[in-house]
């Protein structure tokens, strides 16, 4: 699996009230580790992890946001382009559960991917004696808002991996949510170049060996005619 190329890169976002364990969840998933003293996130943090879904390697860029209200105005731009959102609450804190509606409102107003998958995660299930939000409460809420639902514990690792796997699987199953991503980022050589798209396609001749799209919209193209082109894609809106 090590040398296998990921079929796609998915952007996931973790949101929820401060202190519900968003960063811990991510740390458990990426490093299989738990740190009770993990510092509160400032702004956003992010981690990259590859995951195998049905035999396909998927690269995940997971954005972990700060829950404090004062940071919230910073976050709208993080929502854009996300294919999946993990909304976390703390099963030992009723207020963190009650704020979910507010968070969903934020998702709806900032997320821009049609069909984006939402998952509700109830964290800290290990703390059984302080639990105040039942599994049923969570399930009801998730159903009402057509979200995936899972309870987990970042401390014991229970349910964490499943949560991410289920979310990613659902994204992969959603047509148009990620294929589109791929199609738009590769140059389609089967298409007859029109006069208009000449800037892009006409430059390419021979058989395509590799296309890479970099973050700054530069594309490098290697073809059998063995030239290596790097040009800025002329259009991005």
């Amino acid at each position: 699996m090590g040398t296998e190329a990921p079929i796609t890169t998915l952007k996931l976002l973790i949101i929820g009230e401060s202190g519900v364990g968003k960063s811990s969840l991510l740390l458990r998933f990426t490093d299989d580790n738990f740190d009770p003293e993990l510092a509160a996130t400032i702004g956003v943090d992010f981690k990259v992890k590859s995951l195998s879904v049905n035999g396909n390697l998927v690269k995940l860029a997971i954005w972990d946001t700060a829950g404090q209200e004062r940071f919230r105005t910073l976050t709208p731009s993080y929502y854009r382009g996300a294919q999946g959102v993990i909304l976390v609450y703390d099963v030992t804190s009723r207020p963190s559960f009650q704020k979910l509606e507010m968070w969903l409102g934020e998702v709806d107003s900032y997320a821009n991917r049609p069909g984006m998958v939402k998952m509700l995660v109830g964290n800290k299930t290990d703390n059984k004696q302080e639990r105040v939000v039942t599994r049923d409460d969570g399930l009801k809420f998730a159903r009402k808002h057509s979200m995936l639902f899972i309870e987990c514990s970042a401390r014991t690792a229970e349910g964490v991996k499943t949560a991410f796997e289920e979310l990613v699987e659902k994204i992969i199953q959603t047509p148009g949510l990620w294929e589109q991503n791929m199609a738009a980022k590769t140059v389609n050589l089967n298409e007859e170049p029109t006069a208009d798209s000449a800037a892009g396609c006409a430059l390419l001749a021979g058989e395509l060996l590799s296309v890479e799209v970099f973050a700054d919209n530069h594309v490098s193209v290697l073809t059998t005619k063995s030239y290596f082109l790097t040009y800025a894609c002329p259009l991005e809106f």
Binding site: G19, T73, G81, N112, T194, D196, C233
Partner: protein, 818 residues
Amino acid sequence: MLSTENDFPLSATLHPLARWFGLADFVVMTSSPFNKIDYKVSEDRLKILHSSIVMAVSNTKCPIPMFLQFDEPLRQMFVGVSEVSGFRTLYEIIDLQKIPERLQTLSGLLEIFKGKIGVEDSTQLIKASIQFTIDLLPDTIEFEDTPEENEDSSLTLKLGSIPFGPEEFNSFVIHLFTSWPNANADAIEDTLLHSDLEPLQAPKWAAQLVFEENATYKIAETIKTFAKQTHRRESIHSFLEYLEKEQLRKEEKEQAAEVLERLTAASPRDHLRSRLSKAIYSRLPKYHLPVPIDAENLNDILAYIFPDSDLAKEMGKSYLTFTEPPDNIFKGAKAAPCDSLAFRLALAVFFVYERFGGVLAVAYLWQEVILELRYRWENGLLIAGVDGDMPNHGTCLLHQKLQMLKCCIIKRQAGSGSTGEASPQGMQSSSSMYMDTQSDVMTDDEDEFFDCETDDEDKPRNSTHIAVLKPEGRKEAHPTLRLLHNPEVSIFIPVTQEPAPMTEDVAREHLEKLVATEEEAEGKANRIRLQSVALVSDMSAFKAANPGCVFEDFVRWHSPRDWEEESGTSRLSERMSQAGTAWKDAWEAAEGKSVRRQKRLFDERVEAENVLSFMDMLIGEVFRHTLPMLMKAGLIRLFEEMDSLEVTVQHDKRTLAKMLSRLFSEQLFSWTDFENFITSLRSNEQALCAYKSMRRLSAKSAALPEHQTFTNFLRQLVEDRQLRAVPGGARSPLGQHIAVCFDQGNQSRGGSSSGNVSLRAQPPKRRLPSPAVRQFILRTVAPRPYLFSRPSIHRMFASLSERDIRIAGAFSEDLLYG
């Protein structure tokens, strides 16, 4: 071959042999398309091939006709043969570019047919099926009550609108098929002098609507032309310089001065504008001239773009507007609202491009727009048509930038006096606020009132001398919280700096910076450093507003969930109580400074300049950034037509709006998707145009009975584009309607096609346009080659158009008695 059922099949997909010979099954031999040279086989080889086919057919007794195709494929030339129960049928085709006079009529064709059979005194009846195809062009018909939209041309192009309709006449044609099935050929008189074959008397009529494939339509064309300009790489300045050079070359100084005077005298605003422009382009003192847009029109356009300007108020003109369609259909599309400045800019750019000669005029206009925006910014005047108070990332970048400019203007209005002294600092730092580190915040500070840091570090428990410090920048007292070490005093929520608004390009840059830290060893620390500016600012403000406060106080306000209360005792959460966390570091580094004395997170001066320099873009970018709005306008225009006609078209509104959203999403712009969008849009526009023509057409015969039937008939023609029979033919009410609508008798221009019809002189009361294609099928059963041969089937097909004649004959001969 004798069956008349398959006469004149219409389907264009049918093989020509099926059309000409009425055959259902046949075999065609043709040279391989991979071997292109082979089409021009010599006649000898052709003959050899032909004879071998004849032999083969004869040997195998193959009932299925075998054909050999020769010559250029476009000419569609074939020879063929078949053999059934002792009869051999030879299939031949003649194709003539020039039509001999004697072949132009049924009588002439009949002669040939008889000659070919060669049996002179045959008493056999010759049957003829005849079909005339008349091309009816509803577009060219003059209407007494010419609707306004007919005058839509580039000359009457109105500012703030998108034209709709076919770009030229004859974008579609109605083929009217008038036919005489299975008539007695000898009984019909059709000579050059007189013809019984009058379409208006034909017993069978059918009609089909066919669109001109290459016809262009205005909405689709508008968007396409516009989009093509996005590739232009010239800068606005280069156009202005060109204007300048032109001016110098012409040396029309007096005239120049006069125009300049006119320009500057128009209003005080104009005066300021040109003064400003001089300051900016001092090396181009008279770049205004010669102008591609004259002053009057320019003022008009500027008043349209900036309806809140004095200029617009002075002129008091009203302009065409677009209204946002209901149901929020464009919610996902990254464009701008219909009443926005960005939207008007798009339409103005389009208008100027079409009306005032292309990109030069656009560059000229754009420069004026930039100057006006700068004027607004420098004088702290808001701009009409920019909504919201933050750049909305769900809109296009141009709109976001204008929203950003609005933020700057609001900030300028709000703090014009008070923050004046802070400006030199702000102007110096041109880098993004996210790059600013904590150290910047500290070193920039020149007058330190007090030093909270020392207080906190050295005497965190000492609350005695706090009261002497003057609190600063308080917004309001916290409803419940009290200072931990001074419970009589409320915690005051400080006035804080709002996070800087960001346009999506800046936000993306910021994200990319964060992503770039992933590889770094100190990645996490760097990410925190990049993002802690706002936190430090909050901490500073908090310290200033709450002298004597401690970190715990801050956490209780800023992150209440990190203050845990358990059985009477309360403490910081585990994660906040750690030493050496980024939070603690930031707290220690933060100095008690009210927002007013802090370095600003958002420097409107820098940001406004950024926006203005963004606006100074390449000419192609002007088109690129206004394209989303133009496309939206085009769709809305299309939707209006769809609503007004209440007909069903191929693509519904939601589909089109979705396509638009997809085009302008986060992804790279795909020209393939763009082409698809244009194709869909065009197909709708095409159908709508046809419906519209039909509606006008049917109005012509409104006086006749059964008008509704006719209207429905026309509607169906557009709807399914299939062949539709006119029940009852010419004499039916429906036929009457058609005859009236396309009556050429009393029209001066005499139709689009005249040609050989002028010879066929017969002036009936009504006259349809002359047939474009006349087709005849003659068939009979007669003995051949000799009188004593068994009678066999003969068939001849002839198709006459103005350009050529094609005769396809299938003549059989008896092999047993021949």
